[in-house]
């Protein structure tokens, strides 16, 4: 996935001189996760550059650059550290177009590694997507495969609205099934690692059918797509798994069509439960598919605690928690 992201940046920068990449350690060093490796050498220091350790400054400078006419792609090293930039994202980037009636826009894509499962503890594991989906004017995108990461990132960069692009760092190097005691597989063993060269786009706002099935619909994104897929395979559940890919705008048609068919819906995310994005999904499914539902909508999520270090696998919504929810929802 790292190479796919790097390629998306490379392809985009090649096509458009106005794209600039900025962030902590993204320049000469190529990023702490190598996502920007080689870009400064290829495009020069005025297009790919290191910044001071100031998330507020990074986002704010990107807003100003966007107002000038550039298309900045700022990186926040970990989603856990995006908070100092929140005022600039929520009060400024998200509202620039609206408050100026289209005079000024913020065509920026904020990339940030997110999610747990890597013993990252409290400040290298968070999934703060719900803070952004709640903000009018922001789009939120989370890929789950290298193929999607490249196509979605190119779409995000070319989109004229500000996009929060969360990269699940647990699956940077290979998919993660949630069976942490089994050996990890690299992406090269999977078809989804076959990433076309050059330019291609995956439209924002379109979900991906990971599997088709009749027993229930599972709504997931990021790392959890792979976890639910593995659990369903393990348990022999005929699930229709939807990888949402974009949380805002949401592919409501795909969700409605699937739940109308299966009559059951399970929502899975790593983020904490209360007021998480799963609550929005649950409400939408209940409002729009109520007469199709044969069981209450279930949510499997992280617990309502800060992300712990030693108890990572007790916290992470893994196979056992998902399995219990599947049993419950299928037994009703």
């Amino acid at each position: 996935m790292i190479e796919a992201i790097n390629e998306a940046l490379d392809v985009s920068m090649e096509r458009d001189d106005n794209i600039v990449v900025m962030g902590e350690d993204v320049g000469y060093f190529g990023g702490v996760f190598r996502c920007t490796a080689g870009l400064q050498e290829k495009y020069g220091k005025t297009r790919v550059f290191d910044t001071p350790i100031s998330e507020c400054g990074i986002i704010a400078a990107a807003v100003g650059m966007g107002a000038y006419g550039l298309r900045p792609v700022p990186e926040i090293q970990f989603a856990d550290y995006i908070y100092p930039g929140l005022d600039q994202l929520i009060s400024e980037a998200a509202r620039l177009r609206y408050r100026s009636a289209g005079e000024y826009i913020a065509p920026m894509t904020v990339r940030s590694p997110f999610g747990g499962g890597i013993f990252g503890g409290q400040t290298h594991s968070q999934s703060p997507e719900a803070l952004f989906t709640h903000v009018a004017g922001l789009k939120t995108v989370i890929p789950s495969t290298p193929y999607d990461a490249k196509g979605l990132l190119i779409s995000a960069i070319e989109d004229n609205d500000p996009v929060i692009f969360f990269e699940p760092k647990r699956i940077y190097n290979g998919p993660f099934t949630g069976y942490y005691d089994k050996p990890a597989q690299p992406w090269k063993n999977f078809d989804a690692s076959l990433v076309p060269e050059g330019h291609y786009k995956i439209p924002l706002g379109k979900a991906r059918h990971v599997t088709t099935g009749d027993e229930l619909t599972i709504l997931a994104y990021g790392t959890m797509v792979h976890v639910v897929e593995a659990v369903c395979r393990e348990k022999g559940v005929d699930a229709e798994i939807l990888d949402l890919r974009t949380l805002v705008p949401l592919d409501i048609e795909a969700i409605e069509a699937s739940v109308a068919k299966t009559g059951r819906c399970l929502i899975v995310h790593e983020a904490t439960r209360t007021s998480g994005f799963g609550a929005e999904l649950s409400a939408l499914v209940t409002e729009r598919c109520f007469y199709h539902l044969e069981a209450p909508v279930e949510r499997v999520t992280g617990f309502d605690t800060p992300y712990p270090h030693s108890l990572e696998w007790a916290y992470f919504p893994g196979p056992i928690r998902i399995g219990e929810a599947l049993d419950k929802i299928l037994s009703e």
């Binding site: 400054g57 704010a60 005022d87 009060s91 509202r95 408050r99």
Partner: protein
Amino acid sequence: MADRPAGAAGEGDNRPKLSLHVPEPKFRPGDAVDFSHLQIPEAGVQPRPDETCDPKDMRDLAFGLVRVLGEDNKAHGPWDPKLDPETLRRMLGHMAMTRAFDERMFRGQRQGKTSFYMKCTGEEATSVSASMALAADDMVFPSYRQQGILIQRGYPLIEMINQIYSNKGDKLKGRQLPIMYSSREHSFFTISGNLATQTPQAVGWAMASAAKGDSRIAATWVGEGSTAEGDFHSACLFATVYNAPVILNVVNNQWAISSFSGFAGGERTTFAARAIGYGLAGLRVDGNDALACYAAQKWAADRARANAGPTLIEFFTYRAEGHSTSDDPSGYRSAQERNEWPLGDPVTRLKDHLIAIGEWDEERQQKMDLEAAEYVKAVTKEAEANGILGHGLHHPFRTMFEDVFEELPWHLKEQSEQAIRERETKFPGGLKL
């Protein structure tokens, strides 16, 4: 109270008790005002270094006060911008217009034509004179108290009033609180209610201009109270790190609503002196001296254009009126402050200068003031034909949902239909607009 660890020295030792310092302004309501503690140097005594000088060679300027207009109303010293009389009269005209506009809009709020207004009385030079030193295509990132820039740049008054009245002529479609103007055509950035956010954005704009090999620079304005925000630190830091062609203007008008400048850290140093820690050029300027404001901004603009780096300018001035139409300053400061302010009034001082050099007289001033007031009154009438706040002459309901994103996503389409349905329920047969 925080517990002491077991075995630590505690009660009974002879260490002195600590005390917390909470700043307090010198004068409160009813107090006699004496500003003699302020050090106001003579006009013309500050040196004017070369625009490309090293910031470390101009430290004294951050603690001094650049002044041009003296007690004799003549221009003095190396900072005299030597503007021709016609330019000075134009400057005075913009300031008179800004003041007349403020008067009228304040009254409009009191008459219930709009919800809110903010005057810039006493600070006109910090916007009008300063922006006259910039090129029309230099990008400005103002706060909410630089209406003088729009007036100086020739933005139509009717657009300003339409925005204040949130009427059907409002280019911002009634979405923004009054005075939060935006004009891309006039290189005037959309004003935000969130303080100081514009300062690092201005730096980003300037970085972009530099990265593209452009020749345009950026300037931003922020109140001294808002310099306490983290964004201001980011702005100073990014400006210096990338040598951005930007001017950071701090309008120190002594008051942030009811808090005096001491709460922004102004008790023990100047705001211009903040520049020193960042390696920025720093200038402290008499903000009621229109010529000094112009000269300082010109100096900083020339510096930025020469790729010599950013400048932080403190305009030392006084907020003569309340913070806003929702504020009553008699609740927290002495009513005498305004009259005792040692730097006087910027409009009066510029007028007196023009008279002193034989290029103006009181009669022409009166005529100018009258004409400005009548012009604003006429434009206000014109704008009122587009409606005033809350009288139905607003933009169509669907516009509330536009421009959240470039395109309307499904959920906003649904909500837009809902709003229109609610209107039909409330006004069967539709509104006559």
